[in-house]
């Protein structure tokens, strides 16, 4: 199996698994308990908090553990909105290409009386700093711009947007779920006030994430109950998963540069290979993208059948993002970069990992070529394109 869906999830690495099992065996107490097993768990919990903090240039008291990236996004946005509401600020700014955890939370807030401005992106999938600036208002309560897009891998100008927000004292959130462990992230340098991350995107465990909240910025709970996480997130702390996530992130950061360099090289080989396919186009910026992300549109075919046939050939890929697979609408990200509906349906995302080899890339190029040709042969759209009865969207 050639696994090229690392943006959907990564395999929990041995480092993380061992840390989890050790924690379940040795430090399984409830960290809120005062007895020795509880306090032993509290210690490993706080050590993990320090490790996560240091990986993003934060301090431990600024880290709140959550059940994953979605919860972190929801809490960050709802909390900033609640704070804004108290100050009479009910305008929220974000982009058209955010993850649904952000977009749907914004949509819910819109129903609750907030006004949302979604800044568009250019055809390479990058938001313009000036566009964000133009969207800011006196009553803007939050700006949320993702660090790296999960579909097309584009890296956003987070540092500059953060600076804008800092100057205007507007809280700035970034969904860094796809970035942390893969590209340099530093909340200080990048002027970030709120940041979401998720364990399973860097070979850590599933169902655990963290929200960074700059010291001094109020945080409201999304899940109410016990006094865990300094009263900001109730629920018995998931110590084994937290410890596993910290171990995985430490490992990812230790090898970040070498992994990124390897992936970038393979990524560019893959892009070069797929570009040989006629009427294909890379989605997203060629340079400013995640080291492991490749995303293409192929004219005349549809993505699901493409990925199912690749699966038959032993290649695990995706079309759009995993969590929208139940939907029939084409990717909002591809529409946002200007791909027409019919082409947006024909997308393929291949996301590399540390384990990806050059041989796998060669095989993948070959397989995609074959499958695209096969599907085009049975596509009425492709026939029309070839007969000139329909105009090519991708030249």
């Amino acid at each position: 199996m050639i696994y090229l869906d690392n943006a959907a999830t990564t395999k929990t690495g041995q480092v993380a698994q061992q840390a989890m099992v050790a924690c379940m065996e040795e430090c399984w107490g409830n960290p809120s308990s005062l007895h020795t097993p509880g306090q032993r768990a509290a210690e490993v919990l706080e050590r993990a908090r320090e490790e996560i903090a240091s990986a993003i240039g934060a301090s431990a008291q600024e880290i709140y553990f959550t059940s994953g990236g979605s919860e972190a996004d929801n809490q960050a946005i709802r909390s900033a909105a609640a704070l804004g509401r108290r100050q009479g600020k009910t305008h929220l700014v974000s982009t058209a290409i955010e993850h649904h955890a952000v977009l749907h939370t914004l949509a819910a807030l819109e129903k609750e009386g907030f006004t949302v401005t979604l800044v568009p992106v250019d055809e390479s999938g990058i938001v313009k700093v000036a566009d964000v600036e133009a969207a800011l208002r006196e009553d803007t309560a939050l700006v949320s711009v993702m660090f790296a897009n999960n579909e097309i891998g584009t890296l956003q100008p987070v540092e500059e947007i953060g600076r804008l927000c800092r100057e205007r004292k507007i809280p700035f959130h970034t969904d860094a779920v796809q970035a942390v462990g893969h590209v340099p992230v530093d909340v200080e340098q990048q002027n970030i006030d709120l940041l979401s991350l998720s364990g399973h995107k860097f070979h850590g465990p599933r169902g655990v994430g963290a929200l960074y909240v700059r010291r001094g910025l109020p945080l409201f709970p999304l899940i109410e109950g016990g006094a865990q996480e300094r009263g900001k997130r109730a629920g018995t702390e998931n110590t084994p998963a937290i410890v596993g996530m910290a171990a995985a992130l430490k490992e990812a950061c230790a090898h970040r540069e070498e992994n990124a360099a390897r992936e970038r090289k393979l990524r560019d080989q893959l892009i070069a290979g797929l570009e040989q396919i006629p009427h294909s186009a890379l989605n997203g910026d060629r340079e400013r993208r995640l080291p492991g992300n490749v995303n293409f549109c192929f004219e005349g075919i549809e993505g699901e059948s493409l990925l199912l046939l690749l699966d038959d050939k032993g290649i695990a890929a995706s079309s759009g993002s995993a969590c929208t697979s139940g939907s029939l609408d084409p990717s909002h990200v591809l529409l946002a970069i200007g791909r027409p509906h019919e082409v947006a349906h024909g997308s393929l995302r291949l996301t590399l990992g540390e384990e990806t080899t050059e041989e796998e890339i060669t095989k993948t190029i070959q397989a995609v070529e074959e499958v695209v040709a096969y599907l085009r042969a049975m596509s009425p759209v492709w026939r029309q394109l070839q007969k000139g009865e329909r105009a090519y969207v991708i030249q």
């Binding site: 549809e302 939907s327 029939l328 042969a377 049975m378 009425p380 759209v381």
Partner: protein, 144 residues
């Protein structure tokens, strides 16, 4: 698995792919914007469907439903082909995921459109009601 073995079989080994030259009836439904287009061509001999072929732009179940639909109408009198329901297609495939049911509707509509074309070309009169709904396309099934 998302799909039944039957769906995967028809997806992997689609029957009757292609386009009949000088067909007696052509039906094309769906649109590329919605992500599925099905085109069925028919050869009719003595009121019986002697051959049916399809081409499809669409997801796995779109390909599988077109494939099985051509199989199901082959050798049948055209009036019987008209009775092919999306439900029968779903059953023949051992089920479809809920959000893919619209593919079976599309397959039913593609067959109907091809038969209508055959009727029209041959000046065969029919009750227009039986083709009611064909023109609406299927985009509204997409939960938009």
């Amino acid at each position: 698995m998302l799909y039944s073995e039957k769906v995967m079989d028809h997806f992997r080994n689609p029957r009757n792919v292609g386009e009949i030259e000088n067909p007696d009836g052509v039906g094309e439904v769906g649109n590329a914007k919605c992500g599925d287009i099905m085109r069925i061509t028919l050869k009719v001999e003595d009121g019986v469907i002697a051959d049916a072929k399809f081409t499809t732009f669409g997801c796995g179940s779109a390909i599988a439903t077109s494939s099985i639909a051509t199989e199901m109408i082959m050798g049948k009198p055209v009036e019987e082909a008209l009775e092919l329901s999306n439900r029968a297609v779903v059953e023949a495939l051992d089920g479809l995921p809920t959000h893919k049911i619209h593919c079976s509707v599309l397959a039913e509509e593609a067959v109907k459109a091809a038969v209508k074309d055959y009727y029209d070309k041959n000046n065969i009169t029919y009750d227009p009601k039986i083709f009611c709904g064909l023109e609406c396309g299927s985009c509204h099934h997409h939960g938009e």
